[in-house]
């Protein structure tokens, strides 16, 4: 009994530890909120720093129209729709091209230089060109988001394929697997965790890009548009509420990626 007792104690201690660490992490955000509130009271100017309550009031009514430009939820859904378009396209292009580049050295030699030339250009630097080619609208945004997220997806896929254990491939070959079977049954599943990481990173960038792209002149919807529009009307509480929603959505989707990563790719790092 003594043994189980100490084991129980140990798990309790571990649990206490987790809570202690969480509590420690919560201190700073709470301090920031308190400072904010004090500063807001001292400044006493809604157009510079609104009080916490007025931001919460905006967040508490996510379906209510804001200054005739749609509700928080409406605009958030539009932003998500756009990010899915651009990011989806990036995945659709990045994964297959990455697989082919990782698998055939010649294809990589052929494409890699070009990738390295284009990759350092920040996605936002493409905005003027996007506007010149496609005007304001969904095509421009999709293009910017695509540029932003395709490289991490592509490069992680290449990396994933190249780091596939050689013995796995050769085992498959000794069992008579064809090239296509090797690709589908070994290379793909073996590199999936790395590809997934690329998708997660790519999505983070895509989300930044969509908000930035929505701030462009001529845009009339989306979270980026909403906070820019609120600025023009001096509605700082809407700006902050919008920023919080943008952050939360990013956090939520990143968490979703992590949960799936944890469930599906537990074998990663335990390869032996």
């Amino acid at each position: 009994m003594e043994g189980t007792d100490t084991a129980k104690n140990r798990t309790r201690k571990q649990r206490d530890n987790v809570w202690r660490r969480r509590a420690l992490g919560a201190i700073l955000p709470i301090l920031i909120i308190i400072c904010w509130e004090i500063a807001a009271i001292l400044i006493d100017n809604e157009f510079i720093l609104p009080r916490l309550e007025s931001v919460l009031a905006v967040l508490a009514a996510p379906t209510v129209d804001i200054l005739g430009s749609g509700s928080l939820i409406n605009n958030a859904l539009l932003s998500i729709e756009r990010v899915i378009m651009g990011f989806g396209l990036a995945a659709l292009v990045g994964i297959p091209v990455g697989l082919v580049m990782g698998y055939w050295q010649r294809v990589e030699d052929f494409i890699d230089t070009t990738v390295q030339l284009f990759r350092p250009i920040p996605p936002l630097a493409w905005i003027p060109l996007a506007l010149a080619w496609f005007k304001t609208g969904i095509v421009s945004m999709t293009f910017i988001i695509f540029i932003g997220s395709v490289f991490p997806v592509l490069l992680n896929t290449v990396d994933g394929v190249k780091s596939v254990n050689k013995t796995w491939v050769e085992s498959a070959r000794t069992f008579g697997a064809s090239q296509r079977q090797v690709l589908a049954k070994v290379i793909m599943p073996a590199s999936l965790p790395t590809i997934w990481t690329g998708l997660r990173v790519g999505f983070g960038i895509a989300w930044m890009c969509v908000v930035a792209a929505e701030m462009l002149p001529g845009t009339t919807s989306g979270l980026g548009y909403l906070i820019m529009y609120a600025y023009n009307w001096g509605q700082v509480q809407v700006i902050i509420a919008g920023m919080i929603v943008i952050g939360l959505i990013g956090l939520l989707i990143d968490g979703l990626f992590r949960v799936i990563e944890h469930q599906r790719f537990r074998w990663r790092g335990m390869t032996r």
Partner: protein
Amino acid sequence: MEGNDKMSLSIKHVSKVFVNEKGEEVTALGDINLEVEEGEFICILGPSGCGKTTLLRIIAGLDDPSSGRAEIGGREITGPAPELAMIFQEYSLYPWRTIIDNTAFGLEVRGISKEERYAKAREYLDLVGLKEFEGSYPYELSGGMRQRVAVARALCSEPQVLLMDEPFGALDAQTRNTMQKELLEIWKKTKKTVIFVTHSVDEAVYLSDRVVVLSPRPSEVREIVTVEQERPRERTSLEFAQVRRYVLSLIHNGNE
């Protein structure tokens, strides 16, 4: 298929020259000649780097010889053949597949139905004593158990010849001895031809009908030692010690 009933293996004047990173030619295999009878247990013994893996890979159809040829049943080996199955030292199981899906991999590649390949996989998992682990993942198993799965997976594709490249090299001494014993039992039951690569004299003498002793690079067959002792062999017996000492002397003489 010609020569179907006699699945003997022959290696005729096989050599292999690699070009290393510096662009120099490295002759791994000098001139290897070997005949292996059906059902035989052969060990290939030689110092590290003498080309054992290279030889096995050529037999498995993973590499081409620079000259000479390897034949099975009278036909030249030009690529992976269904009569041959390879068991690697480690890291050959697929960590994202369950044990049964690992075991049935060879059949899956051949397009055998799930029902049929699972039935066969269970049969071989039972043979290696891991039936109750069919739903587990490789990382949940010990090193010895994983190599048992690798053996079951190789047998499941019903080859005639098992090629084993230092399969127990990464295991601790005790597990290694257990695995050797089990492998001999499986060999007796399944009547496969086994070509087993090792750099351990003890392992070679314990397991094989004949020990093929290779010289250092560029390697040739220095001598083939027939081990007459009845199985199961007693490592502490005089006979065992004598054969062991003789094989050791073959290795040492060449290094002087």
